[in-house]
């Protein structure tokens, strides 16, 4: 199964991510974000950051997840490579482990100004219960 793909957008970056589970669709969304930031260069998983996100709709969680990635890049020079996510849907709490590296070790990085809710969704496709997410980020 394809993990994510990029879609055309005039000024910004738009992606769609797929997953067998809700956790996986969030994890694959992070892979898409990592590819935007790294411009396709492999980011090493040398460091680890653990955070928790609480409350809201699935879209709120996706937005906040992207927001955290940008925050870590700006404030701690941490660039994400991948993530491990445990989402408790009932109590609306997400535990996130980000893996990544010091951004200073990479020459050719891109920047995301912000997550946006434009064209964003996180939904279950019903058929085989596959999940799909879409988002546009402000670059």
């Amino acid at each position: 199964m394809k993990k994510y793909e990029f879609l055309p957008h005039t000024a910004e970056m738009k992606f769609r991510a797929f997953g067998k589970t809700l956790n996986q669709v969030f994890e694959n969304s992070v892979l898409a974000i990592s590819e935007i930031l790294s411009r396709g260069v492999k980011i090493k998983s040398k460091k680890k950051k653990t955070i928790a996100i609480e409350g809201g709709t699935n879209e709120n969680f996706l937005y906040n997840l992207i927001d955290e990635i940008i925050y870590l890049l700006d404030s701690e020079s941490f660039i994400v490579s991948k993530t491990k996510i445990k989402f408790n849907e009932k109590i609306r709490r997400m535990e996130v482990v980000f893996y990544g590296d010091d951004a200073k070790n990479y020459e050719n990085l891109d920047y995301i100004k912000s997550a946006t809710y434009a064209e964003m969704y996180v939904k279950n496709l019903g058929k085989n219960k596959r999940w799909e997410a879409q988002a546009v980020v402000d670059v």
């Binding site: 055309p8 000024a11 930031l37 925050y71 404030s75 010091d102 100004k113 809710y117 434009a118």
Partner: protein, 491 residues
């Protein structure tokens, strides 16, 4: 309107109102989207036929319509000649609200609060500069941090950041960085009053803390340009622009601090007022006189001050780099303009002087002769308006007009505006092609990222010449001078 349907879950069809909308050409360069359904005011687009063809291709017109539905909006929801699709409101959008039942919208201000442009003039001749072009460009590239994950040289404590957010450029001038005229020749004197650092989250401060004096990435840049052509001698003289001299143009904003502030308040607005009533989620808003509305205004002003300081420090570093090569010729600040911002300004509305809350998202203020908000020197001419082209193409200096106050809420365009996505640009152009394109025009580039350079290829943007032509023809910003890039520094 064209009705088409989209297949949705369960095999049903849903009607979609497509952007093949009712668009009336009123006169040369002026179009109207008539008021319909939920709109409180009609839409208005300032564009030539050629630019309109491009504008129609994305969601710009739909976004102008959506903004027309916002409460308290007056006269028109406007798109400038360089408009293109954004979030909520298009980039190149100008909307104004009455203070009674109007609103403030973080999304309609833009994520990069007070993204803007600063121009420095000099007495250095093009020929003198060209002899040392590579060395100077390299020196600036070394001294002014750009790109991602690289902070500036200057580190600030929490207390210092708060002072900066409150005082703007004055903070640095008091510390001996820059001079008094750096305050005077800046929109709002480099400090919007009523800024409150307490309304900026710790998270936003943490993102911005070590980013002051850094250019950032994307479409932000520093260019060294030649004043190639003067269209209005008298005004150019007042602005200190002489043909054949070089100048420095800086395009940057409030970096992570502003982006986070926009994001923070978008969330707060959504939480308090919900999103179901909105034509577009990114247009979340708060009433001007609500607690949240006031908080956002104070935070937005603090972020704007941060951006003025950012451009002030970049200019300071560039001046220092130049002084190593030209110790006797100092660069002088011409002006600094904001193009993502909310302002409270007076207009004639139904024959009465009325204070309005103007959102400019990707639009530059255009104040004409006699405006007290301007430095004395510019009260005689109107303010300088700085329109950067895309990387490596012409930039323009325009002058503000009274006509702009009448027809465009004292606003005009802000740049070229994209026509190709970054992905598409990378597909179409090779790094060699872009480098050749620049070299052909005799532009030297130092870019942190090859991909970044390709994504910002001049061919990915609208024609800036056409954009300023429309502004000039409408009289909402008149052309004074054309600047041709000689060297580009970008992240």
């Amino acid at each position: 309107m064209l009705k088409i349907s989209e297949r949705i879950k369960g095999g049903k069809h849903r009607l979609l109102w497509m952007s093949k909308m009712n668009l009336k050409k009123i006169s040369e360069n002026i179009w109207e989207i008539p008021k319909e359904r939920k709109m409180n005011v009609p839409g208005r687009v300032f564009a030539s036929d050629k630019l309109m063809e491009r504008i129609k291709e994305d969601k710009t017109l739909e976004q102008i319509k959506n903004a027309g539905m916002l409460p308290g909006i007056v006269k028109y929801s406007i798109a400038m000649p360089d408009a293109h699709q954004g979030y909520g409101l298009c980039v190149g959008g100008v909307i104004a609200f009455n203070l009674k039942n109007g609103i403030v919208s973080p999304g309609a201000t833009g994520y990069d609060i007070n993204c803007g442009v600063r121009l420095l003039s000099s007495e250095i001749k093009k020929e003198e500069f060209l002899k040392k072009r590579k060395e100077i460009t390299h020196q600036i590239k070394r001294d002014v941090p750009s790109g991602v994950g690289r902070g500036g040289e200057l580190k600030f404590t929490d207390k210092e950041i708060d002072e900066i957010l409150k005082k703007g450029v004055k903070y640095f001038v008091e510390k001996g960085i820059g001079k008094k005229s750096d305050i005077e020749y800046c929109e709002d004197n480099g400090c919007i009053l009523g800024a409150n650092p307490e309304k900026i989250s710790q998270r936003a401060k943490a993102r911005g803390r070590n980013q002051l004096g850094t250019i950032g990435a994307g479409n932000h840049f520093l260019e060294i340009q030649e004043i190639e052509k003067i269209y209005d001698e008298k005004t150019a003289k007042v602005f200190g622009l002489k043909q054949g001299n070089i100048c420095v143009l800086i395009h940057s904003g409030s970096r992570g601090l502003g982006h986070q502030t926009c994001s923070d308040y978008l969330k707060i607005c959504e939480k308090e007022y919900g999103i179901n009533h909105l034509p577009d989620r990114e247009l979340a808003y708060a009433p001007i006189d609500s607690k949240i509305g006031k908080d956002y205004i104070e935070a937005m002003r603090a972020s704007a001050n941060f951006a003025f300081c950012n451009r002030h420090l970049i200019a300071h570093l560039a001046k220092k780099a130049f002084s190593k090569f030209f110790p006797k010729k100092e660069l002088e600040l011409v002006y600094d303009v904001a193009h993502n911002i909310i302002k409270f300004e007076e207009f004639q509305l139904n024959g009465k002087k009325t204070e309005l809350c103007v959102h400019r998202k990707g639009a530059t203020r255009s104040f004409g002769i006699g405006r007290k908000e301007l430095p004395k020197k510019y009260q005689k001419t109107g303010q300088p308006i700085l329109i950067p082209g895309s990387m490596g193409t012409y930039s323009y200096v325009l002058v503000g007009t009274e006509k702009a106050r009448e027809i465009s809420f004292a606003s005009t365009a802000h740049g070229a505006g994209r026509i190709l996505s970054r992905t598409e640009a990378k597909k179409r152009f090779s790094p060699e092609f872009v480098k050749n394109e620049l070299e052909k025009n005799d532009v030297y580039i130092e870019a942190g990222s090859v991909n970044g350079m390709v994504e910002e290829a001049p061919s990915a943007y609208k024609d800036v010449n056409e954009v300023v032509k429309v502004s000039h023809e409408l009289g909402i910003g008149n052309i004074v001078a054309r600047l041709k890039p000689l060297a580009v520094i970008k992240g």
